[in-house]
């Protein structure tokens, strides 16, 4: 079954081609599109399960490499298009195809009445193709195909409703901001080739310890450039600004691409290149530091957002920060663990938000109201209209807030414990730990606020609209239920010894992280310290939930159209610390000015058009004019010249 792993890529690719053809020829054939779009994903998931069972039966010490064909034979660079199946990629394979299948299924209901239905599924299938190439690629360039491909699909899906300029702009922003990160990825790739002479992951793992001294400048540079790529793709400071705007896309897209899979690619990259990061302690500290900063920073912004999807977007950025604390600490398994549980509960939360928006949109559509269907100030009291969604989102909230025994508790706790443990070597990790705890408090707070504003209290949708609110159809609640179960029990895959678990995921990933752990082994806290840490974390999250619930209920919330603007700190948070405005002022506008006045008027019109293009033309014309003076049209002159030439040749020959 392992050798059939290419099917997981080929099936969605076939789905993309079929749906793409239908999108062009028969956009109305929605049934066919649904069966193809969802069917290929479920088939890919079945293959993934088969691959996973194969690995479970005989866990390999070195990765299985499945070579499809020779891709780039250039001198010493002999690159295959090959897939790497090992413990890490198998976990990712399951997450991508599993959560992907559920979200595809949800989309059938969510996008039902959209005219671009076939196009949507074509893009979504294509995204899965590239995501799997990213995950399975056995070398940096193959991974880079996927890396760029998911960026493309992200762009296409953010700007899915491109008739609205704001959506198209959001897509462009995501694409352009990601270019900065891709630059880092490529530079890192060049440096790795220069130093190691190989681009495959197995080659890198074998050679890196011999070539690089621990903490040497080369490996630090490589890892920092790699991390620049991660900050772009995984929306970390300073390149996170595209992710909140990416919520312009359809909600299932936000769930699949901008929460569960694509944005975790950076975490996956760090886990994949763990050898390099283990050799570069400075870079690892930077990774953890940026992660901690992002986790805290994004959580504060989420406190004062009113758009339900924006809250979740900032929450995603914050949770990605946690994952980077994990992989930056050297606890690669816990970073991946949080990646998996986050994929469950954040997909659940996003799809739940999708159900809410779906209901709100239909209600407003029925009464021809133009109120914002995503603004939480227009919601409230939705629990009585859509109870199933409420209970499922409650599970998601408890999971993300870190309440035991839900999945997020175990993964977040693992990461914080790791950071605390590293504090013994390097004091700054205690700061990261403190930031993580504070972010956990804020996470619990804003999630309780989201849930309370949306589902509890008085309904603020409007008198006429209220009757049109209804629960989502089964095709949408079905995937939600599965994700709810996974969010609740997902922690089982890595239960810590504290509660009698075997830390399965950590042991499972050991063959992948073994080389890194040669350089430093992380001693997790035990006994009393562990009880203390866990107790503190639980207390913090419960406190946050309670405070968020009470504070939100106590506030008098009025519908968005009647709300006055926030003031003071709340306003700064609502405006996201004005980071977009600052970027606009110090980067975008100077760049536009530079392009317009210097590059356009001076360089393009002056130098390129004026000197180079027109200059060449003028030079040729001048030389031509000089040459044409010889052409008198008088045969005699020609004959004289001919004779002179003939005599000259004769002279040269007889001399």
């Amino acid at each position: 079954m392992t050798s059939l792993v290419w099917l997981t890529v080929a099936l969605p690719l076939a789905g993309f081609l079929a749906n793409g053809a239908l999108a062009i020829r028969r956009p109305a054939a929605k049934d066919a599109v649904s069966y193809i779009g969802v069917g290929v994903l479920i088939a890919a998931f079945i293959v993934s399960v088969g691959v996973f069972i194969d690995l479970l039966k005989s866990p390999p010490h070195s990765p299985h490499i499945i070579t499809l064909w020779r891709w780039l034979p250039v001198g010493p660079l002999q690159l295959d298009l090959a897939f790497q199946v090992d413990q890490l990629s198998a976990v990712m394979l399951l997450v991508v195809t599993g959560v992907g299948s559920l979200i595809h299924l949800f989309s059938v209901g969510y996008m039902k009445s959209d005219p671009g239905y076939a196009r949507y599924f074509a893009y979504l299938n294509l995204f899965v193709v590239f995501m799997l190439v990213l995950v399975l690629g056995s070398s940096f360039p193959v991974m880079f195909i996927g890396w760029e491909g998911v960026g493309l699909c992200s762009y296409l899906l953010i700007g899915f409703w491109f008739n609205d300029k704001a959506n198209a702009d959001a897509g462009k922003k995501a694409f352009i901001v990601n270019r900065i990160g891709d630059f880092g990825f490529m530079v890192a790739m060049f440096l790795i080739w220069h130093h190691l002479g190989t681009l495959t992951f197995t080659g890198m793992t074998d050679r890196a310890p011999a070539v690089f001294a621990s903490g040497s400048a080369a490996v630090t540079a490589i890892t920092l450039f790699l991390f620049l790529g991660c900050t772009g793709k995984s929306a970390q400071i300073p390149l996170y600004t595209w992710l909140p705007d990416a919520m312009a896309g359809p909600t299932p897209v936000s769930a699949l691409i901008h929460a569960a899979t694509m944005v975790t690619a950076g975490v996956y990259l760090v886990a994949r290149t763990n050898v390099l990061f283990a050799l570069a302690p400075v870079s690892s500290t930077v990774v953890a530091g940026i992660g901690a900063l992002t986790a805290l920073f994004a959580a504060t912004i989420a406190l004062r957002q009113y758009d339900i999807k924006k809250v979740l977007a900032y929450s995603t950025i914050s949770q990605l920060g946690y994952m980077f604390i994990g992989v930056g600490t050297g606890a690669y398994a816990s970073g991946v663990f949080h990646l998996v549980t986050h994929a469950f509960f954040k997909a659940l939360l996003f799809l739940g938000a999708g159900s809410v928006i779906h209901a709100m949109h239909h209600a407003y559509h029925a009464t021809h109201s133009h109120a914002d269907a995503q603004d939480m100030r227009n919601m409230g009291g939705l629990k009585q209209y859509m109870p199933a969604t409420f209970w499922l989102m409650l599970i998601g909230t408890l999971a993300i807030a870190g309440v035991p025994p839900f999945s997020g508790f175990f993964s977040k706790d693992e990461i914080l414990a790791g950071a605390f443990a590293r504090g013994g070597d390097l004091l700054i990790y205690y700061v990261f730990y403190a930031m993580g705890i504070l972010a956990a408090l804020l996470t619990a707070f804003y999630m309780a606020r989201l849930l309370t504003m949306t589902f509890l209290g008085e309904n603020r949708t409007g008198e006429q609209e209220r009757h049109h609110l209804h629960e989502a159809p089964p095709v949408m609640t079905g995937p939600l239920i599965v994700l709810g179960v996974l969010s609740a029990i997902g922690g089982m895959i890595n239960l810590p010894p504290l509660v009698g678990g075997g830390a399965w995921l950590e042991h499972w990933l050991e063959p992948v992280t073994a080389r890194a752990h040669q350089f430093f082994a992380l001693e997790m806290p035990h006994g009393q310290t562990e009880y203390f840490l866990v107790g503190g974390a639980v207390a913090i999250s419960l406190l946050g939930l309670f405070a968020g619930y009470r504070a939100t209920l106590a506030r008098k919330i009025v519908p968005a159209s009647e709300s006055a603007e926030d003031t003071g700190v709340a306003r700064v948070l609502n405006r996201k610390y004005y980071v977009d405005e600052v970027y606009d002022a110090i980067i975008v506008r100077p760049l536009v000015w530079l392009s317009r006045t210097v590059l356009w008027r001076v360089v393009d019109q002056g130098v390129v058009d004026g000197a180079a293009v027109n200059g060449t033309a003028k030079l040729s014309r001048g030389l031509g004019w000089l040459g044409s003076r010889l052409q008198t049209g008088q045969v005699g002159v020609y004959v004289v010249l001919f004779l002179v030439g003939a005599l000259w040749i004769l002279h040269a020959m007889v001399r």
């Binding site: 010889l630 008198t632 049209g633 008088q634 045969v635 005699g636 004779l643």
Partner: protein, 98 residues
């Protein structure tokens, strides 16, 4: 053998042809001067063939053939020009001036 005088005559005839081409304006005369140069070369071929064997004679036949073809084409062109311009004076023909 008369090699020396033959070559000298050939050189004189050739120079006459060149001078004619350079100095005369009438296309017909110019044409005849070209023929003169060709035949001067023919004379030197014949003279040298006495030393170097029959290939010189063979070359003369080639030159005569080419000259005949050239005369046919050249005269046709001159007639064409005359019909067009009512003149064969090369000073009037400067269509190729750049």
């Amino acid at each position: 053998m008369l090699l020396g005088p033959s070559l000298a005559l050939s050189a004189i005839l050739f120079s006459l042809g060149v001078a004619g081409v350079l100095l005369r304006r009438n296309a017909i005369v110019l044409f005849m001067c070209i023929e003169l140069m060709l035949n001067a070369v023919n004379l030197s071929f014949v003279a040298l063939a006495q030393l170097h064997g029959a290939s010189g004679y063979v070359m003369v036949f080639f030159v005569m053939t080419v000259a005949a073809a050239e005369a046919a084409v050249g005269l046709a062109i001159i007639i064409g020009i005359f019909r067009h311009k009512q003149s064969v004076d090369l000073g009037n023909i400067n269509l190729l001036r750049g």
